[in-house]
Amino acid sequence: MKRILDELCEMEGINGVFICNDDGDLIEFSSPRDFDAITLSQTATVAARAAETISVQHHTWDCLVAHFAEGKLIFSKFSQCLLCAIAEPSSNVAFLNVAIKVARNKIQRKLESSNIAAATMRPNSEFGLGGQIYADGAIGTAGSMAAGQAVAAHGMYSTGLIENWTGSDHRMENFDLSDAGSGVMGYGPGEASVSSTSVRVADNATSNTLNRVAEALAELVGPKAHALVLEAMQKVCPSQPFSKNHLKPLQKTIEKEYIAGWKDLRQFRKSLQR
């Protein structure tokens, strides 16, 4: 991870980069200039608090740029981590955003490949400030899953994979809503998880309806719809299997959280009725 951050730091206009978890613990950093670990650690704590604050209003945000007279802070949220770049005032934010997203995806791929969810990233003093990423719970096994456990098995999504979905990953183009049952893309009866918490779908009819809901939402928000529906499912019924009784609250949640404006709302409802 250090190497990825170093590479990002070499970009023109970036003075430092760090990554922290949602508790504000500094995981890793790279700063060729003035910023030391203590400064970045303090910033990380406040930044995590700020990230939490925005999530109160909009939990789907993934990028924040704070403009100062003397520079810019660019935050990118993924899984339960925050990647922050300290940039010069004259830097091109759009350009840096692309570089940050690339770095973010690389880090995620690393996490995925080692089957470790970022949700459980904790700094470990034994490994210096750079920290050590480890999973608290079972890894790579199917079956029951407690919140906080990192599972990347058939029929389940690791936190990282979901994040890639919501990002600009090429896999989104292969997004197949009708692939119910495989557990990889659809809402087949069985388990699907988002943000390290599982949601069970009770029956085939419900899973078909869920696919229709995702299709309707995809017309408005694009391929991210699937991840958003999973997120909404998790909100509506975090503990019990998702059944047809939960469909109405799910629709309400989606309309409230992810649909802006009455025009989109009308289109969404129309698509659902089709």
Partner: protein, 108 residues
Amino acid sequence: MSKLKHARLMPETQRGVVCDLSGGLQESFRCKDPENMSAVASYLVRAMCECGSTMGMTNCEKISIAGPGYAASVFSDEKNIWIFELEPNWSQREFEKKFESAQLSAVK
């Protein structure tokens, strides 16, 4: 004079709020819960200022937030904080430029 006069008319804005630095609501348009929006923005600006001052940067002038189907811009000066939620199909950057130049000409 309304502090949201220009922004209200811009096609990019869905809703907007202006508040003081402590989050006290002053004005809003098309908002369901303007108090909450102003409180969140005020807290966010404070947190960003804290981040900035730790790193030797002062005066957080603008915060741009974006996500899937969502964009918001927060502006602050020494007295007020403006928060706007934007139509996702419009350019956030263009809106910010327009708003800043409108603010500048209002000051002049």
